[in-house]
C-alpha cells in the first residue's frame, strides 16, 4: 500500500508540474502578458510600463520567471483581482460552494439514473429498452448543454412557470427550500450528459461481469436472481465507476461552467466568464489552474479510494 501511495503521489506531482508549465505558457499569451493590468490604465506611458516590468521582474529570463510564478502559486499567492483588488484565491473560494453544490447534486442524480439505465440495459440486452436507451444516450452526448438549458428555461419557466429561470435564490429569501427549487433545473441539465456516460459504462461493466463464472455459480447455488444482480453483479461493476467519476471531472467542470452561465448560477463558471468580460486575467488564470488542480486532486482521491476498496490493485 505504501509503495502504491508513493508512486501515485509522485505521478500527481509530475502532472501538476506539467500542468503549471502549460498554465505559464497560456499566461504569456495574454495580450500584454502579465502587464495587461497596467497597460489599460489611462495616461500610462511606455517608460512607466518598462519600469513596472522591471519591478515585477518581467525582464528576467523566462525560466526564472516561471520558477518565481510557480513558487508564488505554491505559497498561495495567486495575485489580486483587477476588478476589486481581492486576492484571487479568496474570490475563487467565495464561488466554490455554489459550483460544488451544483456538481455534487448533478453527479448524485446522474449516477443513480445512469446506473439504473445501464444495469437494466445489460440485463435485458437486445430489448427495446436497451436499444432505445443506446440511441438516447448518443443523442444526450451530442446535444449542447447550454441549448438544453435554454429549452428547459423556455418550457419550465417561461411557458409553464414551474421553476425559476436562474440565480441561486430569490433576493430576500435564501432559505434551503428556495435554493433547492433553484437547483432543480441546472442540476437536471448538467446531469443529462453524464447520465449518458454513466449508463454506457455501467452497461459495459455489467455485461462484463454477467457472464463470469462466479455469477454462474451463484445461479447454480439457487440464489434469487435479484440478489445475484444486486450483490454479485452490481457490486463488481461499481468499482470502475469510482475511477470513471474521477475521469469525468474535467467534463463535469466544463459542463458546470456552461450550465452556470445559462442559469446565472453564481459559481466558478459564472465567475470565469465575468472575469473574461472584465479582462480580469489573474482571476481567469487562477480559475484555469484551480480547475486543473481540482481535477488532479479528484483523480488522485478516486484512485486511492479504488485501491482502498479493491485489494487487487494495491497488491499489484
Amino acid at each position: 500500500m505504501a509503495r502504491f501511495l508513493i508512486g501515485r503521489l509522485w505521478q500527481s506531482i509530475v502532472l501538476l508540474l506539467l500542468v503549471s508549465l502549460i498554465g505559464f505558457m497560456v499566461l504569456n499569451l495574454a495580450p500584454g502578458g502579465p502587464l495587461s493590468q497596467f497597460a489599460l490604465t489611462p495616461g500610462m506611458t511606455k517608460e512607466a510600463l518598462d519600469r513596472i516590468a522591471e519591478q515585477m521582474g518581467l525582464n528576467r529570463p523566462l525560466p526564472v520567471q516561471y520558477l518565481d510564478w510557480l513558487w508564488k502559486l505554491v505559497r498561495g499567492d495567486w495575485g489580486k483581482s483587477f476588478r476589486d483588488n481581492r486576492p484571487v484565491l479568496d474570490v475563487i473560494g467565495s464561488h466554490l460552494f455554489a459550483t460544488l453544490l451544483l456538481m455534487g447534486a448533478s453527479t448524485l442524480l446522474s449516477m443513480l439514473v445512469g446506473a439504473w439505465i445501464g444495469i437494466r440495459s445489460a440485463v435485458r440486452r437486445g430489448s427495446l429498452f436497451d436499444y432505445s436507451m443506446t440511441v438516447l444516450c448518443f443523442v444526450a452526448l451530442s446535444v449542447p448543454t447550454f441549448w438544453i438549458g435554454l429549452v428547459a428555461i423556455f418550457l419550465f419557466s417561461l411557458r409553464l412557470g414551474w421553476l425559476p429561470a436562474g440565480n441561486m435564490y430569490t433576493v430576500g429569501d435564501g432559505s434551503v427550500r428556495d435554493i433547492l427549487i433553484h437547483l432543480v433545473m441546472p442540476t437536471c441539465v448538467l446531469a443529462l450528459v453524464n447520465v449518458a456516460t454513466w449508463a454506457r459504462y455501467m452497461r459495459t461493466a455489467t455485461l462484463e461481469v454477467i457472464n463470469q463464472d462466479f455469477v454462474r455459480t451463484a445461479h447454480a447455488k439457487g440464489l434469487a436472481p435479484r440478489r445475484i444482480l444486486m450483490k454479485h453483479i452490481v457490486g463488481n461493476a461499481l468499482l470502475p465507476m469510482i475511477t470513471l467519476a474521477g475521469m469525468q471531472l474535467p467534463t463535469l467542470l466544463g459542463g458546470a461552467l456552461v450550465t452556470e452561465t445559462v442559469f446565472t448560477w453564481p459559481g466558478m463558471g459564472r465567475l470565469f466568464l465575468d472575469s473574461l468580460g472584465y479582462n480580469d486575467y489573474p482571476v481567469v488564470m487562477g480559475l484555469l489552474m484551480f480547475s486543473a488542480i481540482l481535477v488532479l486532486a479528484g483523480n488522485l482521491i478516486a484512485d486511492l479510494l479504488v485501491a482502498f476498496v479493491d485489494p487487487r490493485i494495491r497488491l499489484e
Partner: protein
C-alpha cells in the same frame, strides 16, 4: 457464391469489403451517414434554393415565426432569414469542425506514433503531457485561449485543434505499442530501414482504423466545442454566422421568439449526433478485436 466467376470491379470489391459490409448493416451508422450527408447538402445547396441571402434584411418581417411566407424557419430580430443564416452558419461550423479535426488528428497521430514507437523516457514524457492537457476542463482552456488571442475563424479552428488532439494521441500510442512488437517490424529493422520509415510507412498504415474512428468523433466534438465558445461570445464573431453565435443572440429573445434558439440547436444536435453515430459504426466495422470475442 456462384460458380461462374464474375468480373470484379473496383465498386464491387469496395462493397464486398468486410468492414464496409458491416458498416452498411449497422442501422445507426447509416442513419448517422444520412444525417451528415443531408445536413451538408442542405448547407451547401440550400442557399441556392432560397430567395434570400444571409445578409438580406427584411424590415417589415422582423421576428417572423417559422413558415411565414418564404421564411421557412422565420426571421431574426433584424429581419434576416433564419434558413439562409442557418445554412451559411452550417458551412462555417462544419468547416471549423473538419479543419480542427484534420489538424488535431495530425498532431495526435505524430505524438502518439513517436511516444509509442520510441517508448522509454520520450514516451513517458509525451504521454504525461497528454494527461496534463486532459486535466484542464477543455471549455476553460478554450475560452482562456480564445479570450487571450484575437479570435479569427482560423484562430478558433487552431485553438480547438490544440485542445482536442489528446484522445487521438492516446489511442495511437496504445495501438503502436502492440504493432511495434510484431514480426514484420522486426523484419523491417533487420532490413535496416530508418526509424521514420518504419513509423510512417510500416506502423502508421496498421493503426489507421482507430485513427479514422477517433477522427470522426473529433469532428463531432469540434463542432460542439465551436458551438460552446461561440455561444459564450468568444468564438466565431458576428456578422459571420455560426450555429453557436446564432444561439448567443437567441438567448435574450427566448420568450418572444423561441424559434431563434430552437432551429440552430437542432442543427447542432443533428450534426453532432450524426458524426457520433458514424464514428461508433466505424468502430464496430473496423475494430476487428471486438468481433472475435
Amino acid at each position: 457464391m456462384t460458380a461462374t466467376p464474375t468480373p470484379i470491379t473496383r465498386r464491387r470489391r469496395f462493397l464486398d469489403n468486410r468492414a464496409v459490409r458491416r458498416f452498411m448493416n449497422n442501422p445507426l451508422a447509416l442513419i448517422g451517414l444520412f444525417m451528415v450527408v443531408g445536413l451538408t447538402a442542405a448547407c451547401f445547396l440550400g442557399p441556392l434554393l432560397l430567395p434570400f441571402d444571409e445578409l438580406y434584411i427584411d424590415l417589415r418581417a422582423r421576428f417572423a415565426p417559422p413558415l411565414t411566407g418564404a421564411h421557412i424557419f422565420g426571421t431574426d430580430p433584424l429581419g434576416r432569414d433564419i434558413a439562409a443564416r442557418l445554412f451559411h452558419a452550417g458551412q462555417v461550423s462544419m468547416a471549423v469542425g473538419f479543419l480542427a479535426m484534420a489538424i488535431s488528428t495530425v498532431i495526435g497521430t505524430v505524438i502518439g506514433l513517436v511516444a509509442g514507437f520510441r517508448g522509454g523516457w520520450t514516451g513517458t514524457i509525451l504521454m504525461r503531457l497528454v494527461d496534463a492537457f486532459l486535466s484542464f476542463p477543455s471549455v476553460f482552456l478554450l475560452l482562456t485561449l480564445a479570450a487571450f488571442i484575437k479570435p479569427s475563424p482560423a484562430m478558433i479552428t487552431l485553438i480547438i485543434a490544440v485542445t482536442s488532439w489528446m484522445e487521438v494521441a492516446r489511442i495511437v500510442d496504445t495501438e503502436v505499442k502492440s504493432v511495434r512488437e510484431r514480426e514484420f517490424i522486426a523484419a523491417a529493422r533487420m532490413l535496416g530501414l530508418s526509424n521514420s520509415w518504419i513509423m510512417f510507412r510500416e506502423i502508421l498504415p496498421n493503426v489507421l482504423g482507430p485513427i479514422v474512428v477517433a477522427a470522426t468523433l473529433t469532428v463531432a466534438r469540434s463542432i460542439l466545442m465551436e458551438a460552446y465558445i461561440s455561444f459564450l461570445g468568444y468564438g466565431i464573431q458576428p456578422p459571420l454566422p455560426s450555429w453557436g453565435n446564432m444561439l448567443n443572440s437567441a438567448q435574450q429573445y427566448l420568450a418572444a421568439a423561441p424559434w431563434l434558439a430552437i432551429v440552430p440547436g437542432v442543427a447542432i444536435t443533428v450534426a453532432v449526433t450524426g458524426f457520433n453515430f458514424i464514428g461508433d459504426g466505424l468502430r464496430d466495422a473496423l475494430d476487428v478485436r471486438s468481433h472475435n470475442g
